[in-house]
Each structure stands twice: as structure tokens, then as C-alpha cells.
Amino acid sequence: MVNPLSIYIHIPFCRSKCAYCDFASYPGREDLWEAYFRALFSEIEQASDRERRVETVFFGGGTPSFVPVAFIGEALEGVAKAFDLAPGAEVTLEANPGTLTPEKLAAYRAMGVNRLSLGAQSFDAALLRDVGRIHTPEDVEAAVRMARAAGFENVSLDLMYALPGQAMNQWENTLRRAIELSPEHVSVYSLIVEEHTPIAARAPEIPDDDEVVEMQRLATALLEEAGYRRYEISNYAREGFRCRHNVAYWKRAEYLGFGAAAHSFFSGERFENPAGLEDYLAGRRRENRKRIFSAEAEEEAILLGTRMCEGISLSSFRSEFGRDFPAGREAAVQKLVEGGLAVLDRDAFFLTERGLELQSAAVLELL
């Protein structure tokens, strides 16, 4: 049996860049939309493999909900034509709450999108404005109502903490209002000030490590109390609503990325499309090709597997790498376990809540 495939489609357009954004997204390039989508459709077509079962499709950006719905529809049709799109496939679309209308949502639903990931980020209007979001807290509430009305039964909210000037009570309020909307899934990301972003130039006063840890812990406490289970460092879901697409990444399943800046892991190789629109439109594809051999693959399995609360499955590790998990890392595992950062039981090796806060250091120890 061939392993299932995941597909990522990048929409590198938005209305305006958020202050913290360092993703490939180009506002004000409506002139290139037509050309971009032509190129995208043909990239999908050329990768065609009718035998290959696709279990998840993810439209990310940029703001996929910013471009005309027809483009999304045609892309999804293209996927369905080129591959064996599973009837129960998870099809996610990232949407900015400030770009949605009932008509758009009905159209997405009709074309087969069944999961909506809303960039809510915060329920504090001033903070939203401050980081350059184009929507208000009320837009988020409206978006969720409209999504439900359109028939979406799987809605996720993205929230951000560690925003400049954000106080603990503001963060708590954001969490509570998100929970009131009763989404199936919540992602909680920490603001990372990346170089060469507008926010970095402002030298913002972001909460210190102590507060950041407290914010993360508050999120876990409130979300778990409301029935969401943390399943990855930044992700919480109600029973049965984990994001299957992201889980595929963390489990090192195969995925193909289409569009500018899209990454792929396919046939034992990692590769990516150029991030620049001109480069992508000039036909450059699948660059920085790198075959992942077993030593690096093991490192990836640890790097990604320890992000998930269920950790690294000992049996999958054995079947993939032909040896038992600690595999020469006994001392590091022992140190982590004795320090209360990790647990090694009969089935899995996983980090504790404290261990997840130090995941990078723990991984470094293990490699």
C-alpha cells in the first residue's frame, strides 16, 4: 500500500503585511494573480499521479481568503484531477477574518473546503492594530458565526501571545473570548521578532521569558479546562479535531507543496520552490533538493516527534530506522527523564509540559 500524501498550496498574496510577518506574501500585486494561478495550476497538473491518495490539502499564505474564490476552487479541482483525493480528506483554508462574507464561505464549502483556520491572533483591538492586522475582534466573532452558518464543522483559531505591550490579563481575555466561540481547534503561537520585519525595526518591548512561559501555561490551563487537549507545542484540539495536515508534517509523512515558497518532502528528498514571485513565474521549481539519509532522518524524527505530546512512537521508530529508540542516546534520555523533562514508557518517548518549554534544548541534548 502506498503511503498517503498531503498537499500544501501557497497563496502569496494579502491585503497588507502584518508587522511581524516574514512569510512569502506580496500585497498590491493583483496584477500578477492571473499569471500566478495559471502557473500554480500547471505545477499541480505536472505532478499528477492518479494512483496517489491524498488525505489532506492545506491552503496557506499569505491570505488565501483574499484572492477570488474561483482561483481556490480551480486549484482544488486541479488536485482532485491530478491525484486520488480521498473522500474524507481534510481540506483546510487559512482565512483572515476581515476578508470573509457569507457568500465566500458558502462557495468554499461547496467546492470541498471543510476546515477553516482563522487568523484571530488577539481579541484586543489595540494590539491587533498595533501589529498591523486588518480586522477587529468583532470581525473574528462574525467570521465564526458566518462559518457555522455556511456549514463549517471544523473551525480553528490562531492566537498570538508575547505581543509588544501585551499584559497577562489581555492574554487571558483573548483566550476566554476564543473559547466562548467554541472552535474545534486552537493554535497558540508566540510572537517571534524576526530580523528585517517592520516590528524588529521598532525594537518592541516584548514580554520577558518569565511572562512568556506564564502566558503559554495560562493557555494550556484555560484550554484544557474548556475541553481542548494539547497535542503539540502550539496546538490544542477537541477530540477528533487535530489538524491532520500538520500532524503529517510532524510524523514525517510525504507532502508536496505547490506555489511560491512551498516546501516538499517527497521520495526521501526535501526541496522547495523559490519564494520570489518573479522566480516562481519564471518557472523555477523544486530547488535546494536534499536527500535525507538515515542519520539525518533520525534527527528529524526526534526534532519533529518531540514537538508532539504523544512523542516518538517506539514501534514506528524501530520500523523506520531498524533500531530501538534511544539508539545511542541513552545518557541524554536518562538525563531528561531524571530531570522531569521527558518520559520513556513502553510505547513512546515524549516530553513533559516542562520539557516542551525547553524542547530545543532537549533536542540538542538528544542529537
Binding site: 493554535s187 503559554q216 507545542i233 502550539s234 500538520n246 507543496g257 519533529l304 530545543s360 540538542l364 542529537l367
Partner: protein, 602 residues
């Protein structure tokens, strides 16, 4: 070539306290005698090692030949043998002096006599050299040449009648110096027809000529084609070239005769075949006995040198071997440390020597090093009366096996303006010094003698002396002997595990403040890790100081990257690189700099 005439040769060196202008005067002499065209001049031409120029000090001795046309119409061959000025390099000075008949003593017209001025003069007198005093820097507003002249007469007992007053910087008085050299320094003696005796006082490696000996010919002569023998080493070689050094190059001559200073090349591939202090003679007509050589030099300070990356061990070994070739004072042998892996215990003349070797290893050989705190050599008498010399605290026998310990003391001489006497005495007291005597000299200055423990001198004595006297005091010292002392081994524990590379031997009275200061420095040098790290200073298992490195608060990427895991991997690679530069002490990762933290003063 003109008829060889010993009476027209002058072999001399220049001695001075550091910064009194020795190198500048040497430059002027070379310039004046036309050896150098002005356009070729860089400052300090004799100091060719990059490090020497940067620091303005002379590390290696060198010999340069000049041709001087005197007013009497005669042409003299002047051989200038450059010598280092710092107290650490006394050994090199002594080697150079043995090749001369005279010494030009440079004294700064404002500073007057300093500790090393005296030390160098005594050494020159030991070698029966004629001393020509020269007062330099007379152009400075603070110059007081008459006071300094009196100092020289009263303190050293030298006649200053006709003593040249010079500004090497401005080029004033240079002719007078050249003329005085010819008048004051006696020509060399030595029978040109006797069997060859040439004293090797230095060696170099030249890519084309092979290993080269710097020699002073005491008797006989040597020329191309001669078969020579190293009298102590026993090996024989055929001479391929003889001549004199001129700045930046070689000046081949037909022969080197008794009384001359120059070089001998003989296609010697292995520089180890040239032993400084050995005598070169001819194989077919050997001298009866070698010339008196040099006392083997004893390193005073030891430290562990380790490659920052264990993979560079071989390169470090090769680099040390190369430096050792023309630095007889450097010694090293392999050692291992639990914390640092494979490295070398290296011996040095002093802290400056140690610093210079470290810098040369890093610069000239592009090595990243981790060095441990310097240690002196302690004498340990065991309960079974066996005596062991300890240069590495790790090798100290267990306390119950030690009957007593002794530490090296030096005879230190400090010269300073009077107003700092109080501060100096306080410092010497602090450093466990024993007062010997004090003398007032010209110009409102004092000469203080103290017996000081060497381990205090190598710690921060010099820095303290300079700061407490606003840089006015000067220091010179020589090893005096061993004195019984209440010494203890101070260990540092990281997360309960002892780190051998951080142990030091200290006087019991010093243990507490040193332990506390090292613990504080380690706390700053060790980055936060996954767990809290207790740092303890302990003597024989008893903890005397404690600090804590708090655990990391968070270290995680809580950001959405989708399928792009390259960023996470890049970050990880960066962290891995950082980890490589850390040493693992038990469960604690310690950055290389932390081992140096022990060295840093407050």
C-alpha cells in the same frame, strides 16, 4: 673583500627598560649607517614578528650587521644584537649578551633608571661587557638629563662623561652614539688561526637554506664547503653559506672569522639538530673543548593548553613543536584532563611569555585554544619523605600523604616615585611579601626589595602594582628559592562534579576570596541550561563558596512554520555548533571562556 681586521669590529647590544626607546634607537642606527634606505623603513625594523610590532616589544634576539664610516676615515663593522626588554625574557637577553663586547644602555631622560635597567646592567656586568650609557628622549618637555646622569653615576657607578644625549625619535645625537660605540666598545679578541669555536645563540628556519644558526665566532674561521660538527649534538654538516643578517635578509660573505657575529647555513633539515648554546667546530680540525654554553632555562609558570576542538590536537602538537624550535624557554608535554580531553602542560618564563605563546598559536597557526589557570611549580614532601614537584594542581597527592608543601619565592625589586611607597608596601603585604630593604635614590625615587611568593606575582601583582602607582612603578624579579607554606588545593564543583581543569593551588588565607571570585565568574560564564547548576568552591570536600546558574526559562520555537522545517534545522545546526565549543563537565556544558574566567582579575 677587504682584509679581515678584528680591530674594526664592534659587537654590541642595546639594553633598556621597556619603553625607553631601544627599538627606535636601533632603527636610527640602521638608517644612519645606510643599511636601510629610508623608503624601506617601517617603525621597529628589527621587530619583524607581527606580534612584536603590535605590542612594541622585542621577543626574540636578532643580530644585524652595519657598516659604519667613522670620521677618522676607517670603516667599522658594527654587529647589533637586539635583546628583549621584558623580565620574562631575561634568558634571551643573557644569550645575546654572550655574543657581545659592549652594551648600549638606553635610559629615558624623564623616567630615569627603572627595575629592568638595573637588572640588565648587572647581567651585562656579569658578562664583562663595557657599558655605554645613552640618555634618550631628551626632546620631551619632562626630560631631565642632568638628574638622570647623576642617577646613572650614583646608582650604577658608570662614568657619564661624554654620554650621548639623544632623541632617537627626532634623530638627534645618533652620530655621537655610533662614534661612542667605536670608542667605548672594545674590539673582539680571538685567534683566527685556532680551531673553530662558534657559539650558537639562536636558530631560525628558512625555507630555502634550511635550519640556520646565529653564531658568535670565538676562535678560528668558517667558510663555504667546510665540514662542521656540532660539539654537543655530534652531527656533522657541510657549510653551504655563511654571512651576516641585515634587516629583512641575508648578506652572504666569504667567511666568518673569530670575533664576528653572523649565520651559518648547512642544509640542515631538522632544526632540532641545532641546539642553542652548543659550539660549532670543524670536523677535520676540531677544537679541544666546547665554549661554555647556557644554563638550561627553567620555566616558572605552567598551564594546560588544549585545542578548543578536540580534532585539532595534532595541529596543536605540531604548532608547539615549531614554536619550541626557536624558543628554548618553552616546554610542553602531553597531558589529559577529564574536562578538556587531550592537551599539553606547557611551561613558560612568565605570564607575558605565556600570553605571547598563546597568541602566536592562535594567530600563526590559526588554532582555537582553551587554556587553564597558570600555576607555579610546588614542592611537595610526602609523608614517606619522597619529594615531588607539582606543576598541575590535579597531580597533587591526597592531603593525608602530604607532610608539607613549599612554594617558590622571588626576589622582587620595585622602583617607584616616593609617594607610592605606602601603596606598594600595602600591596606586597597583601601578597604575603616579606620586606627586605628600601633605598632612596636620585629624583625622589625608591628601590624596594621584597621576597614575594611567585604564585601571587603571576596572579595579579603586576596589574595591581601598575594601578596603585598609576603606572609609575617598575618590577623585576628572579627566582630565589622554595619556602614552606600553608597551601591548599581549591576545587570547583559543577553540579556536584569536580572539574579538574578548574582546580588551583592557593595559600589557605587566599582560598576563600579566590573561591568566591571564581564561582562568581563561572556563574557569569556558564549559560543557563535545562537544569539549575550549583557551582561550588571546595577545599578537601568542604564547600567554601556557592553560586547557582538558574535553569533556562524557555527554549522552544512556538511558531507556525508549516512544512518548512529548514528553519528549525538551521537553528538546530547553529546550536550544535555552539555545543561543540562547549566542554562537558559531567552533565554541565561549559564554554571554553569559562576556563579562562579563573584567570581574570576582579
Amino acid at each position: 673583500m677587504a682584509q679581515f681586521d678584528q680591530s674594526r669590529i664592534r659587537n654590541f647590544c642595546i639594553i633598556a627598560h621597556i619603553d625607553h626607546g631601544k627599538s627606535t634607537l636601533a632603527d636610527r642606527l640602521l638608517e644612519k649607517t645606510g643599511v636601510m634606505k629610508l623608503r624601506d623603513m617601517t617603525d621597529q625594523v628589527l621587530d619583524s614578528m607581527e606580534l612584536e610590532r603590535e605590542r612594541g616589544i622585542t621577543i626574540k634576539s636578532k643580530a644585524v650587521r652595519m657598516s659604519y664610516q667613522a670620521p677618522d676615515g676607517e670603516v667599522y663593522e658594527l654587529n647589533l644584537i637586539d635583546t628583549p626588554g621584558h623580565v620574562d625574557f631575561t634568558y634571551e637577553v643573557s644569550r645575546a649578551l654572550a655574543a657581545c663586547e659592549g652594551a648600549v644602555l638606553v635610559v629615558d631622560a624623564s623616567q630615569g633608571i627603572e627595575a629592568q635597567t638595573l637588572a640588565n646592567v648587572y647581567m651585562a656586568l656579569d658578562h664583562d661587557l663595557e657599558i655605554l650609557p645613552v640618555i634618550n628622549k631628551i626632546d620631551l618637555p619632562s626630560a631631565r638629563p642632568d638628574v638622570v646622569r647623576h642617577e646613572i653615576e650614583d646608582e650604577i657607578g658608570l662614568d657619564t662623561e661624554g654620554c650621548p644625549l639623544v632623541s632617537a625619535k627626532q634623530g638627534i645625537g645618533i652620530d655621537e652614539v655610533l662614534e661612542a660605540i667605536v670608542k667605548v666598545v672594545p674590539p673582539p679578541k680571538g685567534d683566527v688561526t685556532a680551531p673553530l669555536q662558534a657559539l650558537i645563540f639562536d636558530s631560525y628556519y628558512d625555507n630555502y637554506r634550511g635550519a640556520i644558526s646565529s653564531v658568535r665566532v670565538q676562535a678560528g674561521s668558517v667558510r663555504i664547503g667546510d665540514r662542521i660538527r656540532m660539539m654537543a649534538g655530534g652531527r656533522e654538516f657541510d657549510v653551504t653559506e655563511v654571512g651576516a643578517f641585515i634587516p629583512g635578509g641575508y648578506f652572504p660573505t666569504e667567511a666568518l672569522n673569530a670575533g664576528e657575529v653572523g649565520y651559518i647555513a648547512a642544509s640542515i633539515k631538522d632544526i632540532a639538530d641545532i641546539r642553542v648554546g652548543d659550539t660549532i667546530t670543524k670536523a677535520d680540525n676540531p677544537a679541544k673543548s666546547p665554549l661554555p654554553g647556557y644554563k638550561p632555562v627553567l620555566p616558572m609558570v605552567y598551564c594546560g593548553i588544549y585545542p578548543a576542538d578536540g580534532a585539532d590536537y595534532e595541529s596543536l602538537r605540531d604548532a608547539l613543536a615549531k614554536l619550541r624550535l626557536n624558543d628554548a624557554a618553552l616546554s610542553y608535554e602531553p597531558e589529559t584532563s577529564v574536562a578538556l580531553g587531550y592537551g599539553f602542560r606547557s611551561g613558560f618564563l612568565g605570564l607575558l611569555h605565556m600570553e605571547i605563546i598563546q597568541e602566536r598559536l592562535e594567530r600563526e597557526f590559526d588554532l582555537d585554544l582553551v587554556t587553564t589557570a597558570p600555576s607555579v611549580v610546588y614542592k611537595v614532601v610526602r609523608t614517606n619523605n619522597e619529594v615531588v614537584m607539582i606543576d598541575n594542581p590535579t597531580n597533587l597527592p591526597p592531603v593525608q600523604e602530604i607532610a608539607w608543601m613549599e612554594e617558590p619565592f622571588v626576589d622582587a625589586q620595585v622602583i617607584s616615585p616616593q609617594e607610592y611607597v605606602g601603596a606598594i608596601m600595602e600591596l606586597c603585604q597583601d601578597k604575603r611579601g616579606a620586606f627586605r630593604d628600601m633605598k632612596y635614590v636620585e629624583g625622589g625615587r625608591v628601590v624596594l626589595h621584597y621576597d614575594l611568593p611567585l604564585n601571587e606575582v603571576i596572579y595579579d601583582f603586576f596589574d595591581q602594582l601598575k594601578s596603585r602607582t598609576r603606572g609609575y612603578a617598575s618590577l623585576d624579579y628572579e627566582l630565589k628559592g622554595y619556602v614552606k607554606s600553608d597551601l591548599v588545593k581549591l576545587d570547583m564543583l559543577l553540579n556536584g562534579e569536580q572539574c579538574d581543569a578548574l582546580s588551583i593551588i592557593v595559600h589557605r588565607d587566599r582560598a576563600y576570596p579566590r573561591g568566591r571570585s571564581i564561582a562568581e565568574k563561572l556563574k557569569d560564564a556558564i549559560p543557563r541550561q535545562m537544569f539549575e547548576i550549583p557551582i561550588q568552591a571546595a577545599i578537601g570536600g568542604k564547600v567554601i563558596a556557592r553560586e547557582t546558574v538558574k535553569a533556562l526559562r524557555k527554549d522552544v520555537l512556538a511558531k507556525c512554520y508549516g512544512g518548512d522545517i529548514t528553519r528549525k534545522k538551521k537553528l538546530l545546526e547553529k546550536q550544535k555548533e555552539g555545543k561543540k565549543r562547549m566542554r562537558q563537565v559531567g552533565s554541565v556544558a561549559v564554554p571554553s571562556e569559562a576556563f579562562m574566567a579563573v584567570l581574570k582579575m576582579d
